[in-house]
């Protein structure tokens, strides 16, 4: 017992106290009380108190002395000693077992404790950076031009890059396949081609193929079964195919009847069979009113539709078009934007209510607009950004959620059921590079964005935001009704002002 009291007192002497002086004294008093007989308890505290005061003085002096640090040698000596090995063996065993226990006993199903934390943990809980993919040799100094998640393997992501001005001898076009599942920081597959790759996609019904649309107008096909890094098939550089940059490639259709659709900036739309890229199966010139060729920069197919689609052009206009039928080509024009259209996305979250007539567009005019194919006037204007908005995409699982990225490095998530004036979550990428592309993963839980420095950043989105509750679809119906009413009111006021 005497040895025990010594044990607690010695560390107390050499330790630097920030507070806990009373604490130590309590220790001493408690153990002294333990040791002595109960009758002596009354008498003892007095001498104990005196020694405590002495201790207090000693400790005060100790406080002024700087904390004793050990040299590297001393540390290594300690770490190599027998006692340390014995301690570490026991201690690490227990700690590893404890770490592996995943049970959170404090979880509150009512969500009350989350409400308390909302103020401070807002941005953190909503979006957190999960991975950053960048390759010294292949992605540095290049801009990420396109992203696509694999439909077969949810952990694979293809990113295409344009040319590296600092390395003229390296190939101009690069496409890298990144793997989210493993911690390795190098790409799963590296592909290149002679011209800068402007768009890339996993071929939907061919798990081994990756399609790329390039600046020269060539469409290249890479196969991960081949050992080469160059493409296995290429479309010809002739007038029958494309001679202008191809910004949009997409595989549409079903397992048995599908085509690769590509549109270049001279308005030419070609549909190809992936087995034979030597000539297009079908081609169509997209012209508006028989004269103006449409310089297509983005294209989107509504969910489930293989014939009708929407295109956005360099001059800011948006058009609907269809591939087959008597009226093949451009059908309707929308009011559009004041600057080139950079991104288009059709509503794709399937659910009890069908919203496939909705689509959103992003443009250099700092805005994102919400449209419906049923009307040429925009439904809503999102003007929260102060820079070119480079891309926008609907969530594949949540009906009222979409993401957009702009040139100031901001990634915004808008939940229209919560608020239509400001984004529900926003994050600025370190270093504020311009973010060129944004793509939701098929699960709707992760978001990938590519920036102008060749980095691909993958963010985990908090459950509260990205997982839709059962009533999200009906709430979105109400939100749309409100939006429609506001739009009609706005138009009436404008009309009245014109008349007056």
């Amino acid at each position: 017992m005497v040895s025990y009291s010594k044990e607690t007192q010695t560390p107390a002497d050499t330790q630097t106290h920030t507070q806990a002086k009373p604490g130590c004294c309590v220790c001493v008093r408690a153990c002294v009380a333990e040791e002595e007989e109960e009758e002596e308890e009354m008498a003892d505290p007095k001498p104990a108190e005196d020694s405590q005061e002495e201790k207090a003085d000693e400790e005060e002096k100790q406080e002024e002395v700087l904390p004793k640090e050990l040299t590297e040698e001393e540390k290594m000596h300690l770490l190599n000693s027998e006692e340390f090995m014995a301690f570490f063996d026991r201690g690490s065993r227990i700690v590893e077992r404890a770490l592996s226990e995943r049970v959170d006993v404090c979880f509150d199903y009512s969500g009350r404790d989350l409400e308390d934390r909302e103020g401070e943990m807002q941005a953190g809980a909503k979006m957190s950076l999960s991975r950053v993919f960048s390759d010294e040799r292949w992605s540095k100094n290049r801009v990420v031009t396109c992203l696509d998640w694999s439909p077969q393997y949810p952990e694979l992501l293809v990113a295409s890059y344009n040319s590296n001005d600092d390395a003229p001898h390296e190939p101009d076009g690069v496409a890298l396949v990144w793997n989210m599942k493993y911690k390795k920081t190098t790409p799963e597959y590296t592909f290149h081609c002679q011209s800068a790759v402007m768009s890339a996609a996993f071929a939907r019904f061919h798990p081994n193929l990756i399609v790329g649309g390039t600046y020269s107008g060539q469409i290249v096909l890479w196969d991960n079964r081949s050992n080469k890094r160059t493409s296995v098939q290429r479309t010809p550089l002739s007038a029958s195919a494309h001679t202008h940059p191809v910004y949009c490639v997409n595989v549409v259709g079903t397992e048995n009847a599908h085509n690769l659709i590509s549109i270049s900036t001279d308005g030419k739309m070609c549909s190809w069979n992936l087995d034979m890229l030597s000539q297009p199966q079908d081609s169509l010139e997209l012209v508006f009113k028989q004269s103006k060729a449409v310089a297509v920069t983005s294209m989107a197919f509504p969910l489930g539709d293989v014939n009708n689609f929407v295109v956005g052009s360099e001059d800011g206009s948006l058009y609907t078009a269809c591939r087959h039928g008597s009226k093949a080509g451009i059908s309707d024009v929308f009011d559009g934007h004041h600057g080139p259209v950079t991104g288009l996305s059709c509503h794709s979250a399937g659910g009890p209510v069908d919203f496939s007539h909705l689509f959103i567009s992003a443009s250099f005019d700092w805005t994102v607009k919400l449209w419906t194919t049923k009307s040429t006037r925009p439904l809503y204007l999102f003007e929260d950004s102060c820079d070119y908005v480079y891309d926008v995409m609907w969530s594949p699982t949540h009906p009222a959620l979409f993401a957009c990225v702009d040139g100031s490095g901001r990634l915004d998530l808008w939940n229209l059921n919560n608020d239509t004036e400001v984004p529900s979550a926003s994050v600025v990428v370190d270093g504020s590079p311009a973010l060129n592309r944004v793509r939701w993963a098929h699960s709707g839980r992760e978001i990938a964005t590519g920036d102008s420095d060749g980095q691909v950043l993958v963010y985990d989105v908090g459950e509260k935001i990205c997982v839709p509750k059962a009533d999200e679809w009906t709430r979105f119906v109400h939100t749309l009704v409100e939006i429609n009413e506001n739009r009609d009111e706005g138009d009436e006021l404008a009309a009245q002002r014109l008349l007056a």
């Binding site: 050499t14 920030t18 540390k75 770490l79 006692e83 570490f88």
Partner: protein, 97 residues
């Protein structure tokens, strides 16, 4: 330091959610850490005092008893301390990851 100890420490540090690992000696001085200096000194000092207090509490309640493991669960983290006569192994984990 033996390769086994190194390997175990690395394994613990790379475990899901682990923010930091600190080994502290009997005097509260950190001898191995994966966090920056100021944070380490803070954690080492405070947890050493707390462990001493916890140990004395356990011994006071039953002199034949002794402290074997200390776990502090807070809103943001979980701090685990494996104490010993001479050393402390401290691991800080974010359990929600």
């Amino acid at each position: 330091m033996s390769a086994e100890v190194e390997e175990t420490l690395k394994r613990i540090q790379t475990h899901k959610g682990v923010i930091g690992t600190i080994v502290v000696n009997a005097e509260g001085i950190p001898i191995r850490t994966t966090l920056d200096n100021s944070t380490t000194v803070q954690y080492a000092g405070l947890l050493h005092q707390l462990t001493m207090k916890a140990r004395s509490t356990v011994r006071d309640l039953d002199p034949q008893n002794d402290l074997t493991f200390l776990r502090i669960r807070s809103k943001k983290h979980e701090i685990m301390v494996a104490p010993d006569k001479e050393y402390l192994l401290i691991v800080i984990q974010n359990p929600s990851e």
